[in-house]
């Protein structure tokens, strides 16, 4: 059992609940946004700012084109959502159970890995979507566009911080075990 630290633990539980709400809202909104982009708002969606010529005439957007586009576009999001689900479940268990458990370390490690993979994958999935749409568009030639922005760099940085957090949790778990063994 964790040694009692009421002020910090109480605050951590409040933050964990807020984070759970943010994760739930974020995941649902992300899925909804992707579906909206591909099935309702494709011609003017934010996805095609880079290659507006591809979507001049939306009449050729068949269900097949939209579905494959959606799958390609959602690959990095799906990885992020998996990582968020892992951390969501950990926060759920941390509210009632131990903070520095093996489950916490595994959840944070999986989350960090998901952020990293998602950040690196995102420019490539976007490029794949642009290639897919431009190849299928009747009025456009094949277009290839690969972009790495500051968002990608920031996500990689954040993933690195979470990897560091994972290592710190390992140390924290050891310290906790030592305290418990002394007690």
């Amino acid at each position: 059992m964790l040694v009692s630290h009421p002020p910090q633990l109480a605050m951590m539980r409040i933050i964990a609940r807020i984070l759970q709400a943010i994760i739930a809202i974020g995941c649902v909104a992300l899925i909804g946004l992707r579906l909206y982009d591909w099935f309702w708002d494709l011609p003017t969606g934010t996805l095609f700012w880079d290659v507006p010529g591809v979507v001049i005439d939306p009449s050729w957007f068949t269900i097949k084109v939209r579905l494959i586009g959606l799958v390609l576009d959602s690959l990095s999001d799906a990885i992020s959502i998996y990582g968020l689900m892992r951390i969501f479940l950990y926060f759920q268990s941390s509210i009632t159970g131990a903070l520095f458990s093996l489950k916490a370390i595994q959840a944070f490690r999986a989350f960090a890995m998901c952020i990293l993979i998602s950040a690196i994958l995102a420019p490539f999935t976007r490029a794949a979507v642009i290639v897919w749409m431009s190849v299928n568009a009747p009025e456009a030639e094949g277009v290839m566009s690969l972009m790495f922005g500051s968002n990608t760099l920031w996500e990689v940085f954040v993933a690195g911080v979470f990897f560091l957090i994972t290592h710190m949790l390992v140390r924290a778990q050891k310290a906790q075990e030592e305290v418990e063994s002394f007690l």
């Binding site: 630290h5 933050i15 520095f100 710190m168 924290a172 030592e178």
Partner: protein
């Protein structure tokens, strides 16, 4: 673990330089730099006609959300250094990580306010448009705020770890 901390310490400095450089570039090339110009091309002309004082004002407004992030990135380097030194459970390290966490969170919360201020500021100079107040929250801001909160959560975990570490040291 130490090599990650070293990489992150260098990265945080690079991030500070990127943020400062991009805002300076934003000041010099405001007309094309502004994201608002993509949404409202007619406003880029307004920005182009602004005088020096007006541009300085715009540059200041554009720093609103950036400053907390900059302060956080500056302080988190102390935390990374503490990890490199092998003693991350110190009051200084924990405090510096919490400042970083708060910086990320406040920056995320200020982002839509900054966008609104920029929009209102530019449109107030426009001869063709009335002053527009527009708040544009996005999923990315939710993500940033979530990351900031997770970092704050972790700073409390660090505090508890410090207590454990102190107890272990007292036993030894």
């Amino acid at each position: 673990m130490k090599w990650i901390a070293r990489v992150l310490k260098v990265s945080s400095l690079i991030w500070i330089l990127i943020l400062v450089a991009s805002h300076l570039a934003g000041f010099v090339y405001t007309q094309t730099f502004l994201e608002v110009a993509f949404d409202y091309p007619q406003l880029s002309q307004t920005v182009g006609q602004m005088g020096l004082a007006a541009r300085v004002g715009l540059a200041v407004i554009m720093c609103v959300a950036c400053v907390p992030a900059l302060v956080g990135l500056w302080y988190v380097r102390k935390f990374f250094q503490a990890v490199i030194d092998g003693d991350p459970f110190t009051i200084t390290a924990i405090r510096s990580f919490r400042i970083f966490a708060l910086g990320v969170l406040i920056s995320a919360l200020l982002e839509p306010i900054q966008g609104s201020l920029v929009m209102a500021y530019i449109t107030s100079f426009s001869p063709i448009a009335d002053t527009v107040w527009m708040v544009d929250p996005s999923l990315r801001l939710l993500w940033q705020a979530g990351v900031g909160l997770m970092f704050i959560w972790f700073s409390y975990a660090l505090e508890i770890s410090k207590v454990h570490q102190d107890e272990v040291d007292s036993f030894l």
